[in-house]
Assembly symmetry: C2
Homo-oligomer: 138 residues x 2
DNA sequence: GCTTGACTTGGACAATGTCCAGCATGGGGC
DNA sequence: GCCCCATGCTGGACATTGTCCAAGTCAAGC
């Protein structure tokens, strides 16, 4: 993640304790936290950080293309630091667990012109749903 | 849509003015209204209908499998009366317009076992994004 | 027509997210 | 190293979307 901090500094981002903490919280694989989850973990490291700052920082990271917004459920948006390797998501319908997945094939080529209604289609997002091993056991 | 009302009556649904109006509002193709949009249109036909009833009725229609919930944007859930023909969605990134689409191929078979993490995968949802002809003109 | 249980209502409450005025501070210029 | 001020942060008010409940209303079976 210091990669990330370096890249951001290079882009003229002013480095503050708050932004550093948010970036730290977002490190790792299969990480898809809500804004309030990010805030809770940030508070553990920097007690006085505000909700507004977390929202602002996440929004900036999204604008910079360093973090993706995903809405797998109908609840809060989730923030995904895995922005540099295209992927899709596999979501547990019961507990909400999310894994990054890399399907074969290109769903883009599965949409014939006759089904494009004149749109310029630029992106496709695939969400698989099912039951995770943990929930299946219970 | 009287099909729908018949089916519901057959299932023991008590028929009320409110429910009839909600069902009427949901008629048609490529219809993907938010709950508050449904409420606004329902109020035009039945001024005293409450928000709570619209939410309740939509929730029941979803439980009965007559209407689908879709969350194409990160805002409000949308309600889709096209529940009896499986389909995916094409969304305008600018104005939010939504079309039903029927891609060829089966994305389910594009997810190898090694990418399933032990999940029992039961469903896949594909969202295409782009710019609609209207927004492209502007 | 009654009766009754299911339905509706309005408003309180919760969760998520946005906005703003005023204070704090990172970091470039000296 | 120190100052300055544009940029960032804060707490709280406000907005949007959705849930819940007690009390009143009504559809439909008798
Ligand atoms: Mn991801
Ligand atoms: Mn649809
Ligand atoms: Zn699970
Ligand atoms: Zn458009």
């Amino acid at each position: 993640m210091s990669d990330l901090l370096e890249r951001l500094r290079g882009r003229g981002w002013r480095m503050t304790a708050q932004r550093r903490v948010v970036a730290e919280v977002l490190a790792g694989d299969h990480v898809h936290l809500t804004a309030d989850e990010v805030h809770a973990r940030a508070v553990a490291k920097l007690p006085e950080i505000s909700r507004a700052t977390v929202y602002n920082t996440l929004g900036e990271l999204v604008s910079l293309g360093e973090v993706l917004e995903v809405s797998t459920d109908k609840r809060a948006k989730r923030y995904d630091p895995n922005a540099h390797r295209p992927h899709h998501h596999l979501v547990c319908a019961q507990c909400g667990a999310i894994r990054d997945v890399h399907p074969t094939g290109n769903p883009m080529s599965d949409l014939p012109d006759s089904e494009r209604f004149g749109f310029t289609v630029s992106d496709v997002e695939v969400t698989y749903r099912g039951i995770c091993p943990n929930c299946a056991k219970a």
